[in-house]
Symmetry: C2
Subunit: 534 residues, 2 copies
């Protein structure tokens, strides 16, 4: 029965039959958790909650309803709504209907929303009641309104549910539009395989399990919530939805032990640390931060308050988190003065992501000296499929077989990368590169400073000079001379901001400081003394 | 720049470029851990230890040496050695040379070893010094002896190292020969994709992390150590190799806190529980058990001693663990009398495995009533590629698009499957099915019994009757009448063993009771009283 002389060509027996090959898709996570964790709570949103068994049925109902509205496999379905159970549900129901999810940033203006609806070709949208008019700009889009009628619609939809089948794990699952700081938003296509793999990496890196409760502070429209809708469901964790960021509520939830995990941009960390509700947590809560480079100071402040901070980094084009900080705690224990500086590095590619390299202009890796600047480039399964309908931009982004992030970084001796700037934000002063991130991290070390954004201002003598915009901590005050002294003690004089401006920092919907706007303001501020208090 | 009217065909933009597609392979785990956890200890074996940075270099050296011996991509390289650092290393070095690893069971006889060497076509073998003669049966096989010369060989090999490239994630990575209880051993082919996915599932299910130390009690030749060589390296855990199972040493390592995880068959659990060195652990150690259905009694005994038992199930054909027990601890807390009975169920498919179903003779799922017997069938990415050089057996195993395990099971209301027997071990008495697993679990509830194996014996009146072979606990004694009484109180009389025999249980190299041998013995034992003490 056994052939005694088998072929020695290892690939020759690679039989692929139905029994031993299955597309990787996060949809399998929901099917499994409904079976394995059926009586566990999948999601809580205000007064409403669903077990995993109930929630699968609900996802099937929404998928069926979408099909009954004429949604065909390969189409795109938009969502414009605040964080809520239906938006989380859509991360499963839309692909279960064979369509791609287009989760639109709720803070975009009418023009951008209209553009994304048109560009994505969505014919159906799930819409929060307050966004109906915004979507009504495009009358060809059928609205499924997320109001008190939604439950009935979902219940009725089950009749139209036809099951799902992912024939190709590299087929798209979602399209996420970039913030479009340069030009119009671009539609970043994710596939099932990438979503599956990055979700598993999130559960591993951040130790999400069936015992976890994940608080939805991060907008779900941001890179599909950094793939956490899929990660939490993979392990049967509980999702807790809140419609907006309320520091008092977050502190209450974290200190009561109800929440074990949350994600937030560094700016939200500052907001939490500055909140009057800030208090020491009785048990550690895992806080995953990304979206902008967090200063060592804010990581330390959050950990002093009892959070455990996981620092990750990525872009819309990399399904959100691609790298993760891994600090050697034997070399750098918490009481090492360098500890939080090392924790502020963006780290290494996560276990499923692929590779990250910092490449110079000739496509060579920069030396791991903590100084040589290069562009962060990524490669692997959690790099986007491409930009929707834009092969030219895709080709440009993938030049040389790497995804070019547009972020500038150094590589440290420990192998971790550390961001220095967006390519376009770098300040070049007297021929020297100045990393605005580095300057910002020095400025926020000053005890009076809560947050800081540094940008370039054209300068006749030096070409450009850095200007610092700062927000102060509650009740704090400081003089410009003190800030200047603080900076001069800590870095080369040419890097010190030529001016300090106290202001509220303008931010994107995802909490990133709008540097373009600050650059504009920097040209408008009259050089000279500015009153520095909060 | 952006096409305002993109195609609405979701798959049309599925560009696959080098930047966004990478083969899934556990080889990436070692590359990453050498970078991320470079200064952490990868493996300790006696006096020898290597950090991840050092160990990658060592793997490259062995891979290079294999190439210098003429090993070509697609070939197979055999290993015949006790658990040790070189065997663990081979799990990376052999595929890094492009070849498939054939880890041979060290307890096989000369005839079987010779057969496997010939059938696999291996031209090179890594050989423990005590197995040289065994391999020398096949003079065409070049031996790399794992003695004091090995380090030099590895160091010199780096010059010949050419890097690795996995072009197709479904290409084979290893071949594991079945124990061959029915006919000659069959070579089960694993691929990179399955090894990668099951390894990640192991880290998730058993919470293996960079802080873990994994003790190598499980033979690495058993389904590639249930994919733990790849799982531990994926997260940067520490591997601790021991050449053989010494209960005193295991208890010392577990109670000193040096070890956080180990895998062992239920028979090893019994050996540990029965050991004079048994003691309560100061901190829980995670114990993953599979290889035979563990009785509720032994799970409870191990947990009473301070282990946390993870119960998994699978076969050589499913990369080892395919299912995992997930017990609802709200419904069945530890003080629930049913708790350990539920923990003894084989559970659900793990998050990466795929699907498991219990199918009746017509290929329909049996009802989830805890009673209806069917065959355990699996489907997914951690089902073997096929049997090496044996398309007929492969086709038969995959009939109907499912892998047929040959194991009989029921499905409980909670959705977990529970094994009742190997198809060939089932006792059919007076037309009634008797699950030998069920009978064994009742017998071992008796306080005098350490372990039990039940088999059928031909019987003129009933067709077959069950006969129980038991080993007693240290110092215990019991009469046959007492055991009979114990059984009759707990199950239908027709299921009670017709005879009890005290004996050492014959076992396979992986700790499975050799039921074929017991069946033979059952026909030889004179019916009647047997002295029952230890």
């Amino acid at each position: 029965m056994i052939d005694p002389l088998p072929s020695t060509d290892g690939t020759a027996q690679a039989l692929t039959m139905a029994a031993n090959d299955e597309a990787l898709t996060p949809l399998s996570f929901l099917e499994r958790s409904a079976r394995v964790h059926g009586s566990r709570v999948a999601v809580v949103d205000g007064e409403v909650g669903f077990t995993y068994a109930e929630w699968l049925i609900r996802a099937q109902g929404l998928a069926g309803h979408l099909r009954s509205l004429g949604v065909e496999p390969g189409e795109r379905v938009a969502v414009l709504a605040n964080n809520s159970e239906p938006v989380l549900l859509a991360h499963f129901a839309v692909p279960m209907a064979g369509a791609d999810l287009v989760a639109i940033n709720t803070r975009l203006g009418p023009h951008e929303v209209s553009y994304i609806l048109e560009h994505s070709g969505a014919r159906v949208a799930l819409v929060g009641p307050q966004y109906r008019e915004l979507v009504a700009q495009r009358p060809e889009v059928t609205q499924v309104v997320l109001d008190e009628t939604f439950d009935e619609v979902v219940a009725a939809g089950r009749e139209s549910y036809q099951g799902w089948h992912v024939a190709d794990e590299r087929a798209s699952i979602s399209v996420n539009y970039t913030s479009g700081t340069t030009g119009r938003p671009k539609g970043v296509v994710y596939h099932h395989r990438g979503a599956y793999l990055n979700a598993l990496a999130m559960t591993l890196d951040h130790r999400v399990s069936a015992e976890s409760t994940y608080l939805w502070t991060l907008p779900m429209f941001h890179c599909n919530g950094w793939t956490f809708p899929w990660a939490t469901v993979a392990v049967g964790a509980r999702n807790l939805c809140v419609p907006s960021i309320d520091p008092q509520q977050i502190w209450d939830l974290c200190s009561s032990g109800e929440v074990t995990h949350l994600c937030a941009a560094p700016t939200v960390l500052t907001m939490l640390a500055e909140s009057e509700a800030a208090r020491e947590l009785p048990a550690p809560v895992r806080l995953v931060t990304a979206g902008a480079p967090p200063a060592p100071t804010i990581i330390q402040r959050m950990e002093d308050l009892g959070f455990f901070v996981d620092h990750v980094y990525g872009l819309t084009e990399t399904y959100g988190p691609f790298t993760v900080n891994v600090t050697d705690r034997e070399l750098h224990p918490r009481d090492d003065p360098d500890h939080y500086r090392v924790r502020a590095r963006q780290g290494f590619a996560n276990v499923a992501a692929g590779s990250v390299q910092v490449l110079d202009g000739d496509g060579r890796e920069v030396p791991a000296d903590g100084q040589s600047l290069g562009e962060v480039c990524m490669r692997g399964n959690v790099v986007m499929t491409g930009y929707l309908g834009d092969p030219e931009a895709t080709e440009e982004a993938f030049a040389g077989g790497w995804f070019h992030s547009g972020d500038l970084a150094v590589v440290h001796e420990d192998g971790q990368i550390e961001l220095r700037d967006r390519k376009k934000d770098l300040v070049i002063s007297g021929g020297e590169n100045i990393s605005t991130v580095e300057v910002e991290q020095v400025v926020v070390q000053h005890p009076a400073v809560a947050e800081c954004g540094v940008v370039s201002r054209p300068d006749q003598r030096w070409g450009e000079v850095p200007v610092a915009f700062v927000t102060l901590r509650r009740g704090a005050s400081v003089t410009e001379a003190e800030l200047r002294e603080h900076c001069r003690e800590r870095m080369a004089h040419f890097k010190c901001p030529a001016q300090f401006v106290v202001t509220d920092l303008p931010k994107t919907a995802t909490g990133k400081i709008l540097k373009a706007e600050l650059r504009q303001r920097a040209t408008e501020v009259a050089p000279g003394a500015v009153r520095l208090d909060s």
